[in-house]
Symmetry: D2
Subunit: 360 residues, 4 copies
Amino acid sequence: MTNSTPVPTPTELTPPDILRCAYMEIVVTDLARSREFYVDILGLVVTEEDENAIYLRSLEEFIHHNLVLRKGPIAAVAAFSYRVRTPEDVDRAEAWYQALGCRTERNRDGFVNGIGDSVRVTDPLGFPYEFFYSVEHVERLAWRYDLYGPGALVRLDHFNQVTPDVPRGRKYLEDLGFRVTEDIQDEDGVTYAAWLRRKDTVHDTALTGGDGPRMHHIAFATHEKHNILYICDKLGALRKSDVIERGPGRHGVSNAFYLYIADPDGHRVEIYTQDYYTGDPDNPVVTWDVHDNQRRDWWGNPVVPSWYTEASLVLDLDGEPQPVIARTDASEMAVTVGADGFSYTRKDDTVEGFKLGNTL
Amino acid sequence: MTNSTPVPTPTELTPPDILRCAYMEIVVTDLARSREFYVDILGLVVTEEDENAIYLRSLEEFIHHNLVLRKGPIAAVAAFSYRVRTPEDVDRAEAWYQALGCRTERNRDGFVNGIGDSVRVTDPLGFPYEFFYSVEHVERLAWRYDLYGPGALVRLDHFNQVTPDVPRGRKYLEDLGFRVTEDIQDEDGVTYAAWLRRKDTVHDTALTGGDGPRMHHIAFATHEKHNILYICDKLGALRKSDVIERGPGRHGVSNAFYLYIADPDGHRVEIYTQDYYTGDPDNPVVTWDVHDNQRRDWWGNPVVPSWYTEASLVLDLDGEPQPVIARTDASEMAVTVGADGFSYTRKDDTVEGFKLGNTL
Amino acid sequence: MTNSTPVPTPTELTPPDILRCAYMEIVVTDLARSREFYVDILGLVVTEEDENAIYLRSLEEFIHHNLVLRKGPIAAVAAFSYRVRTPEDVDRAEAWYQALGCRTERNRDGFVNGIGDSVRVTDPLGFPYEFFYSVEHVERLAWRYDLYGPGALVRLDHFNQVTPDVPRGRKYLEDLGFRVTEDIQDEDGVTYAAWLRRKDTVHDTALTGGDGPRMHHIAFATHEKHNILYICDKLGALRKSDVIERGPGRHGVSNAFYLYIADPDGHRVEIYTQDYYTGDPDNPVVTWDVHDNQRRDWWGNPVVPSWYTEASLVLDLDGEPQPVIARTDASEMAVTVGADGFSYTRKDDTVEGFKLGNTL
Amino acid sequence: MTNSTPVPTPTELTPPDILRCAYMEIVVTDLARSREFYVDILGLVVTEEDENAIYLRSLEEFIHHNLVLRKGPIAAVAAFSYRVRTPEDVDRAEAWYQALGCRTERNRDGFVNGIGDSVRVTDPLGFPYEFFYSVEHVERLAWRYDLYGPGALVRLDHFNQVTPDVPRGRKYLEDLGFRVTEDIQDEDGVTYAAWLRRKDTVHDTALTGGDGPRMHHIAFATHEKHNILYICDKLGALRKSDVIERGPGRHGVSNAFYLYIADPDGHRVEIYTQDYYTGDPDNPVVTWDVHDNQRRDWWGNPVVPSWYTEASLVLDLDGEPQPVIARTDASEMAVTVGADGFSYTRKDDTVEGFKLGNTL
């Protein structure tokens, strides 16, 4: 059992009204190699770039960027940035985190190009969160089909964060206004992961149980499934198929179609499409059994171990890597993969088994 | 110029917090024929049915229904129903329409099966609007792929209403909390149509300029474009291709892929997929020139005249058809189709032309 | 009734063993504009080019080209070229046409780059046909997904020729070894069109009844239907939607998904996908009633009149345009479109109608 | 090195002109369970059935069946059946195999319903091959979209056979008129697999090196990739995802999109779409390096060991299982999977690795 202190609820305060995950700032060690990956291969659109940073957006985006690649010595994540509904919500975010005892930094001119008044915080889980309203509008390229490639990324969909104590993180994010749409638990009540949303999709961020704080992945959406298949085909043609870590496949959780790939620094990117509307306040929460072999891949295809163990460092407000705290709760990989774990396809199966393990 | 009185703004009141378009109740003259259309052909799921009514939902829905087919003597629409965020928002809706001088009816048990406390109103445009929060939950069939057909309808997407004075309707709906995402205008400032949203899509309803109040269409979403193409293929196989009125095609407005078909009573149904996220408060409004030949079909394929002229009657709270008021503003069909109208593919075209007209 | 003389059968000769339609040579009046259309917009691959000609191929092709654009004063077709099974089949083709009394030209070095020993003929219908075996191999780009666009053209599929007397042309092509897969007739036995194949698809060429000899279209195949939809989307983005003449849609004949567009000279190009295997000698011939409104578009969408009336000139072996002979048999357009014609969706319909005509 | 005797070439005889793989007859141990798999889940069409056998066809087929399920005590394959061009080709097949010293059985009434005059043989590799021309025609359901499911199987595509000595089998099949389109070799000249065609696709059958004679799989084609993904989704919904053995994925060999699933008796079925035209006599043969990690999955996803080791028994003409002869050449699994083998993504990789092995 994790002994971490619960995050207090600032009951006297109004949390910021968060619209959606808006962009991630990541530190990459070789800007040219990262540009090749995100621009030449994945087709994200360059809004702006210089020798230190590249600002990228998806084809349907109208704010300045969804991803900032910043050159730096250590691959890590500098910010998980959310857009809020009004300028005043930036104040509310600042007050909220100060009430939580977190370090905050306010920059009226924004920490990165294209973004105005922002607050960055080190949140109670150790993640660098940012909140802003003011942003430069750029052309929404939705109708510019001449710029679409066969694997066109049209939206930023969500973040995914690794944290040791999922219930603690979930409670903190629910206080902040997020709503859980799905989670993975076991019969003893251990929570292995939770998906939380602000916009009307399955998530704006998710908490994956593991050693953290670390960034598990950032996800971009395509229109259709064939767009995701094409990305694999192209990686094969470029003889870079080894950047494919897992998938493509159909998720159980979220019901979306997915692919996980690794950027040149090992930052994990998900390509994702077709989850469902979640905007009603009584949207039914779906709880998956951790032993259900279709929870993470509806087709029962194996979750490769690296997907459970690898993740990106995150930075504090001074740009130093946050120390990683080990998860003490049960590990999803341990309870489901290989000789020690088990999983089932049908609840009443007497033969317990795991497709990958069975065949090696 | 239309001389209709502006709808007043009840500035002292808080409008109801509308979540989304939730269901439409339509009157059909032959329940069995309508069942064949909506269930056997389109594959909507029957939640409940008796000799007088059929309650249908889409595959990802968790509320009781998205469409009620009620048997009656005259084909018409009995309710455009919106879900609100809280039970108190039903009170707010009732107060709002009473302040507007509209007739309202409150039914604590709901007007139809599966829905609880509701208010129905005849709105200032003459439409039967309903607002409810309380609703029976049913199984969300998102993961039940064994129930999906090749043209699976997964969500109710939007309504579309015909009204003579679009700016008047738009102002009324904006007061009610809707936000415009796109519209069609001309250089003289005439508005031909407007799209308004509550959820994060391009619209929950749209106003189409024309003789009204009438219902232009109800739209269901598929996951992918091939699902829509399949519906056409199936209609061909059933030798019912003449229910296809327009499309399939790509909209200019909304950037979605679409198809319009007619149910056995002539109620128009749109099948729709892949518009874009609109949830930010400063989401850019897209204004289309009425003469732009790609505004309603991005490929420049003709809008058939019936699409402009035909629509369904709507009922008052006694179940009587509302009288239809003629539009006095310019007609989109007249200014764009045939010998009198013109449209262009490129803004600077010197040859004005309309693909359909040119070729007949 | 057409009075044209039947084409004799050279019963003492063996016809060439034709493999497939291989390439078309077309004359274009502005090479740069045609290059923009075929390369920049449609994504055909340039094998070779100079100031007078561009040699293009589809992504799965391994022979030198599928299309030659040659600069010239009058837009026309210089050759419909077929590949034969062996070098000796070129001799057989030459002998065959000489026996038919046709003018032939033999060029051991080929008439165009990349092709070796060839014979060109003016066939009994007035078309410039070519037969070759020897050809330069180039890289088959099937696995080069990095070169695929969203609307990738992967194969040349077929030619389509306009000729006044379809039964006469059909008999001549059957003698030559083609097999009919589908045709359109009426109750009086008039044949309006016929589809003929050598490879295992619905056709390598088709005969469309009309004033001829003219070239109706050349067709390239995509892998999937969304590829075709994308081409429309891109044309919209480029504000060139007016090059879309008809479709996209589902054919009745061939069961394929289609789109017709016009190149800068008005040469018609079809984009086509997913017909069926026809390689068995007793492959059932499908005969469509000319009045069946789903025969040319399975969804009953209108065939625009230009599709019936417009076509490209073809050249004789001196490069001069062939005179066009008027069709004297009934015209498909006249019997099916507009006030004089009729078509039905269901065989027993008492109301005769044509969707487009009904609505204007 | 395998010591098996080369198969002689009956140089004085003309081999039968084989059109295509036409159907497979398989023995299943529980007809009802197999019917659920092939009809209820996969949607093959029942042409005819009784208590002992079910005759199934794909949606575009016009011959009586593509698959016969026959009830029997031991799961096995009773016939790999090819259609030939003429009735006389059945005689040629009989003579050919008699010249090879093979046992043959001629049945003028056919061995199964719907098929006429046929010859069955035990071929030099030990496989039960059948050849026929005469067949009952049934309705080609290509246009019957009302019968299509989302994962519609439209064609039988190919067989795949396991045999110890691939070069021996290849030479025998080439003599019979098959043409190799692709193969897998190593630098020492060992052939691990070969693909051979009669119709214009990558194969009608393939030889996979391994203990044989055994049947590796039978493959049906869909129109598009999403059809294959749907089959996985449906298996997940039915909680039968464990019948998915491998995929979905993109093949290197054939460039097709694929999925492998197991029927209730363990007979392997491939679902396959979009390989390329191979009908020219000089169609380039593609040879893959056995160590190329993209040869069997273009995305580098692992080939599960069962795919290499499991296969179905085949029967002799008395209905008895053929003894299985061990492969003595190098095993593809051994040289590429796990600790002993290696594979590469890029030819010049210094790190040798196999994605699955690396991560466990």
